[in-house]
Symmetry: C2
Subunit: 315 residues, 2 copies
């Protein structure tokens, strides 16, 4: 690796979400995995964030301009005839669970990511949760990236085992939640589930547990990062993708190798960006903060987990 | 404080537990808050562990001798006519919940802790979960301890508000689980619940979350310690008291002040001892390990949470 920050390519969905929260209903909220991941990544990354996704004719130019103003390269956002992907969900009173009321794939149904020529050398790639065949299709368009991370979901785990297995063989890092890890491995215990999944391809695995933090499994062992304790959580939508965006944004910015120490530090950025996401409805909080707020939260985060170095049994 | 390790006084229950686990039934298993806390503390502490509790005529001398052999001073264990406290519980298949099938207080019903003269100067005191009036009674028999920690439970929170309030004013550290913190404060959010509880007396508060770790709240802020990820959990009975025993055992052993850094390191020992406890039925695992195993787990624990020191936003 050269000694400058690297561009990060993010591929995933761009959407409008209707969110029925305990605190009220919100309509036409900007959403999608690529949206949350890129907004988070750009708050950390130094080498540029490139996004590939599809929008419909209903997606306002002003929204795209807003992303560009945040430093996101939207050249890879394709505009297709039809409406943008829409999701409508309702959250429980404690925000711990949610029900999908409606999903309209719209232009996303025929999405086939086309990586612009200028993006093909992107050394860092995050594949948001889309069909594993499309994730593989992205990898066939890019040139030997340094690090490829991917997300997936129960829908593909149940229905697309063959292409999912191939995708897993081609990535370096899988980022999933605890239920997905259990479903993918068929093992309830997360330590054992992780060992099983790492045998299928990815040398690094992150298991997200929402308000209970996240675990990293790699060649150096296990590493845990808590969720940042907040006085108020407004909306968990996009927190997982914001987590991935923070993680990849940090790794892409490093002037060095993706070492075990580097990915451990990246986990702090991941959790910090996830914590900002849940503080607002949709991506509103991510859109209202800048690097000073990220720096301050990282400092608070360090205080939360810093045990003061050396620890040994009293003698 | 002087520069040598200090004795730790532990007051609580000694019991026989009948445990219906998914893996099988176990009868007459040694249990009780004082039992688990003292077995854990003695694996860490350097200045001695003293236990005060009550047993019946059915409690074998050999069991007491086993505790003494582990380095626990059992001079304060009172033998009363009648049977020892008995609890019978059944765990769910995933061990996440349990049902009490039977409780026989027996000699514990009339327990009134009598602190032996030689224990009254104990500088570190852990009050296991007993009636708050009895916890206050212990504090009236000891001489200005350096640090008093206490546990409590929903039963006292619901029924003994006045004496619980007085107990809280007289302790330095409260150790409870998340549901108890919510019930005590009447606030669901744990950050806010902690602020409420600390106003009632204890300057330090630890909220235990089982497999999801534990949070410390003190004047220096918040600190989080995860549960150690295990491949197999056999029995959660006593894990909370083992946590407290490890915490207090470490603090009592320090040759210095109970500083914010010290209690943060103590949280690692607390979680490490809790993790040993759940690896065996009842206290079997705690009884089978020694200081080398504790040292090794602390080293693993450090690898689990060590993010490599300095972290800052890439520039």
């Amino acid at each position: 690796m050269t000694s400058h920050p690297h561009p990060l390519l993010i591929v995933g969905s761009l959407a409008f979400d209707d969110l029925d929260m305990p605190t009220g209903a919100h309509r036409d909220v900007l959403g999608g995995s690529a949206l949350y991941a890129s907004l988070s990544a750009t708050l950390v990354a130094q080498g540029g964030v490139r996004v590939v996704g599809v929008i419909g004719t209903d997606f306002p130019d002003a929204q795209l301009a807003e992303l560009a103003k945040r430093g996101i390269d939207t050249q890879g956002v394709e505009r297709a005839p039809g409406r943008t992907f829409r999701w409508h969900g309702r959250y429980s009173a404690d925000l711990a669970s949610r029900t999908t009321l409606d999903t309209q794939l719209n232009v996303f149904a025929d999405f086939s990511p086309k990586i612009p020529a200028g993006y093909r050398g992107s050394p860092f790639v995050f594949l948001g949760n889309i069909h594993p065949k499309l994730q593989i299709g992205v990898l066939e368009q890019v040139e030997r990236p340094t690090l490829v991370a991917a997300d997936t979901m129960n829908f593909w785990i149940e229905r697309e085992q063959a292409s999912l297995a191939e995708m897993l063989r081609r990535i370096d890092l899988l980022v999933v939640n605890d239920e997905e890890a259990r479903q993918l491995s068929g093992v309830h215990n997360l330590v054992r589930a992780a060992a099983d999944i790492r045998k299928r391809g990815p040398r690094m695995l992150v298991i997200k547990r929402g308000e209970f933090g996240a675990l990293l499994f790699d060649a150096a062992g296990e590493f845990f990062v808590p969720a940042y304790p907040l006085e108020e959580v407004l909306d968990p939508t996009g927190a997982g993708d914001s987590f991935s965006g923070g993680l990849m944004g940090y790794l892409a910015s490093l002037r060095g190798e993706v070492s075990p120490v580097a990915i451990r530090k990246a986990m702090l950025f991941a959790s910090a960006l996830g914590s900002f996401c849940v503080e607002g409805i949709g991506p509103s909080r991510l859109l209202s903060i800048g690097r000073p707020e990220v720096g301050a939260r990282i400092a608070s985060f360090v205080r939360l987990i810093d045990f003061g170095g050396d620890v040994s049994l009293p003698t």
